[in-house]
C-alpha cells in the first residue's frame, strides 16, 4: 500500500474539490530596469494527503510561486495574475483580512533557513505559542502548554525545559523542528516547505524529511515541497513538477519522471546526479546558464541549452524550437511535458 492510499483510507477526500488549485499563475516584478518574469503560467492542483514536489534550480520561479500562494509577496513591486483557489475560494480576489485568516490554519509554510526565519528576540515557546494566541485567542498559560506539546511532537528533547530558550541556543536541526512545530501548530490543510532541508547537513536532512512524512500521515495535509534536491524528491514526493524559467516543463509521478524523463531539461538533471550504477563515469552537466528572467529566450526557453533542439529546416512545421513556444501537453498516460519532441526524449 502506498502512502497516499493509507491516507485516503483514513481521511476521505472532499468530493470533487482539490485542496489547492493554481490556475495559470503569473508573477512579474516591475522594475525601472525592466520587467522580471518570475512565474509564467503555472498551473497545478493539490489533493489532501498528496505530496507534490516542485523541482527547479535557483531562479526557476519555484519559491516565488509559493510566496504568491502564501500571499507574502509585496505588491507592488510584484504583480500577480491568474487564479489561486484554496478549497474552492479564490485567494487573489479575497479581502486581505480574510486571506490573513487562511494563513496558519489553512496554508502554512516552512522556510529554508530557520535561524533567520525565527525572531531572535523571542523564546521559541513564545513564537510557537503565538499561533494559538493570534488565531485562537489562547491565554499565555495555555499557549505555552500547547507549545511544549508541539515541541514534543516534532521530537525536540526535553521540550518543557527548552521552551524558554532562544533560537540561537538551538542547533540547526532543532531550529528547523521549531519552525516545523510553528507551521503545523494549527493543523494546516496545506503545508508549503520551501527548501526545508537545504540549510541542514545530510544526516539531519533525512530526519527532518521523515518527520514531515510522519506528520503528513497523521494529519492528511497536502504537502508542497519546493526543492532542488533530487534525492529528497525521490524519497518523499508522490508527484513532481519540474520548473524552468518560471514555467512547468514536465509533470508526472515521481517514479515516471525519474526513470523516464520526457523533457530534455529533466533528462539533463537526472544525468547530472551521481549514481551508484554509473560509478567511475563522468557526470554530464547541463551546458549553458539558467535564463535571465528579464530576457527569457524566445520559443522554448530551454532551447539554447537543449541537446534535442531542432532549428530551421531540421524542425517539423510549427515546431521550430527557437521560435515556437511548446505548450505543456499530454505526452504519455499521466505524463505532461512542454517539449515539441518529448516522444524522442522518451524514446517512444
Amino acid at each position: 500500500m502506498t502512502r497516499s492510499e493509507i491516507i485516503s483510507s483514513t481521511e476521505p477526500a472532499p468530493t470533487g474539490a482539490a485542496l489547492l488549485e493554481v490556475d495559470d499563475l503569473y508573477v512579474e516584478f516591475r522594475q525601472r530596469s525592466g520587467t522580471v518574469h518570475a512565474v509564467n503560467g503555472v498551473s497545478y492542483s493539490l489533493a489532501p494527503g498528496q505530496t507534490l514536489a516542485i523541482l527547479g534550480e535557483s531562479g526557476s520561479g519555484k519559491s516565488v510561486s509559493a510566496q504568491a500562494i502564501m500571499g507574502i509577496l509585496d505588491t507592488p513591486p510584484a504583480v500577480i495574475t491568474g487564479g489561486i483557489r484554496f478549497e474552492g475560494r479564490d485567494m487573489l480576489a479575497m479581502q486581505p483580512e480574510d486571506q490573513r485568516k487562511i494563513r496558519g490554519p489553512g496554508i502554512s509554510m516552512i522556510f529554508q533557513d530557520a535561524l533567520s526565519a525565527l525572531n531572535p528576540v523571542y523564546s521559541v515557546g513564545w513564537q510557537i505559542g503565538e499561533m494559538f494566541r493570534v488565531h485562537q485567542g489562547a491565554s499565555r498559560k495555555e499557549a505555552k502548554q500547547r507549545a511544549i506539546e508541539l515541541m514534543d511532537r516534532v521530537r525536540i528533547p526535553a521540550a518543557a525545559r527548552r521552551v524558554n530558550d532562544y533560537p540561537h541556543q538551538f542547533s540547526g536541526g532543532m531550529r528547523q523542528r521549531v519552525m516545523i512545530a510553528m507551521a503545523i501548530a494549527l493543523d494546516p490543510r496545506i503545508l508549503i516547505a520551501d527548501e526545508p532541508t537545504t540549510a541542514l547537513d545530510v544526516t539531519v536532512q533525512a530526519q527532518v524529511m521523515d518527520l514531515l512524512k510522519d506528520l503528513q500521515q497523521e494529519t492528511g495535509m497536502g504537502l508542497i515541497l519546493i526543492t532542488h534536491d533530487l534525492g529528497v524528491v525521490n524519497e518523499v514526493a508522490d508527484d513532481v513538477a519540474v520548473m524552468y524559467a518560471g514555467r512547468i516543463v514536465e509533470r508526472g509521478t515521481v517514479d515516471d519522471v525519474f526513470t523516464r524523463p520526457a523533457h530534455p531539461y529533466t533528462e539533463g538533471l537526472m544525468k547530472s546526479v551521481p549514481q551508484v550504477e554509473a560509478k567511475g563515469g563522468r557526470l554530464q552537466p547541463i551546458v549553458g546558464q539558467p535564463p535571465n528572467l528579464a530576457a527569457i529566450p524566445s520559443g522554448c526557453p530551454f532551447h539554447p541549452r537543449c541537446a534535442h533542439r531542432r532549428l530551421g529546416a531540421a524542425a517539423a512545421p510549427g515546431r521550430e524550437c527557437a521560435t515556437d513556444d511548446p505548450p505543456l501537453r499530454l505526452v504519455a498516460p499521466g505524463r505532461e511535458a512542454a517539449c515539441h519532441y518529448s516522444e524522442e526524449v522518451l524514446g517512444v
Partner: protein, 323 residues
Amino acid sequence: MTDQQQRDLLHDEVEAGTTTGLASPSVDVTSARQNSLWSDAWGSLRRNVLFWIGAVLTVLFAVMAVFPQLFARGQDPRACDLANSKALPSAEHWFGYDVQGCDYMANVVYGARNSLIIGIVAVLVVLVLGVLVGALAGYFGGWTDGILSRLTDVFYALPLILGALVLLRVGPSTSIPIINTRGPGAVALALALFGWMTAMRLVRSQVIAVKSSDYVAAARAMGASNTRILVRHIMPNAVAPVLVYTTITIGVLIAAEATLTYLGVGLQRPAISWGLQIAAGQDSIRTAPHLVLFPSIVLTLTVMAFIMMGDALRDALDPRQRA
C-alpha cells in the same frame, strides 16, 4: 558551540525518528505562564550592575527635583549676599557662592527640577515622534514613506537652535497652551519639535532592514496582522539604536536649553536651571571655575545615568547579548 547545541547535534545524529528518554515533558517548568519579551528583559536587567547604578542616580536626581530642600543643606537658593560673590567652596558651603553671592549648592540642587523636566520631556517627545513617524514610514514605504520622509526633511532644514529660537520668540504672543508660557514645558517642546528627525531616520532605516528579514515574512505567513508584525516583530528588533541615541540626547537637549537661555529666549532668571548656571558661569570661568564645574558635574552624571540605563535596556532586549 554551546553545550546545549552540542547535545542537540548528538541527538540529531543518534536519534533517527524515535523518541528518546530525554524528551520527557516532566522536567521542571519554571513558570506555567509564557514569558513575555518584557518580563525576560526585566529578568536580565535585574542582574545588570550598570543598570542599577544608572537607576540609583536617576532616582537620586528625581528626588532632588521633587524635594530640593532635602539636599540644599538648609540654604535658600535665593537668599543672597553680594559680599560673598564668587566665593570658593568651603566646609560650610560645599559648592561656594555664585556671582550674586547665593549659596551655589542650593542653586545647583534647585536647578535639577527645570533641567530634568526639559531633558526628559523633550526626549520623550523625540522618542514618541521619532519612533511613530519612523516606524510608519519604514513599514508602509511607498507614498506614506515619501510624505513622512519629506516632512522630516523640512524639519531637518531648520537648525535646532534657530527653530527653537523662533518658536520661543513668537510663542508668548500666541494662544497655544504650554508654548505661550516660556516655562520649561515650552522650552522642552521647542527643542523636541526641532530635534526628533535623527530618531525618525534611525527608526525608519532599522525598520526597513528588519522588515525584509525572513522572520517577518514567516510571521506574515503564519497569519499575523500588520499591527502585530510591526509592534511585536519589527519594533523590538529595531529600537536598540534609537534607545542609545535618545539617552545620549538627553544631555544634548539639557545643554541646548543653556544656549537658548544665552540667546535670551530660554528660561530666564529668576528661574534656576543647570543650563542657566553653566551659561552664566562661563563669563567668569578664570576667576571662579567652580561656577561651571558643579552644574557640569551634575549634568554629566545625569546624562551618564540615562546612558547606562539605555545600554542595559538595549542589551536586555536582545537575547543574544544576555550572558
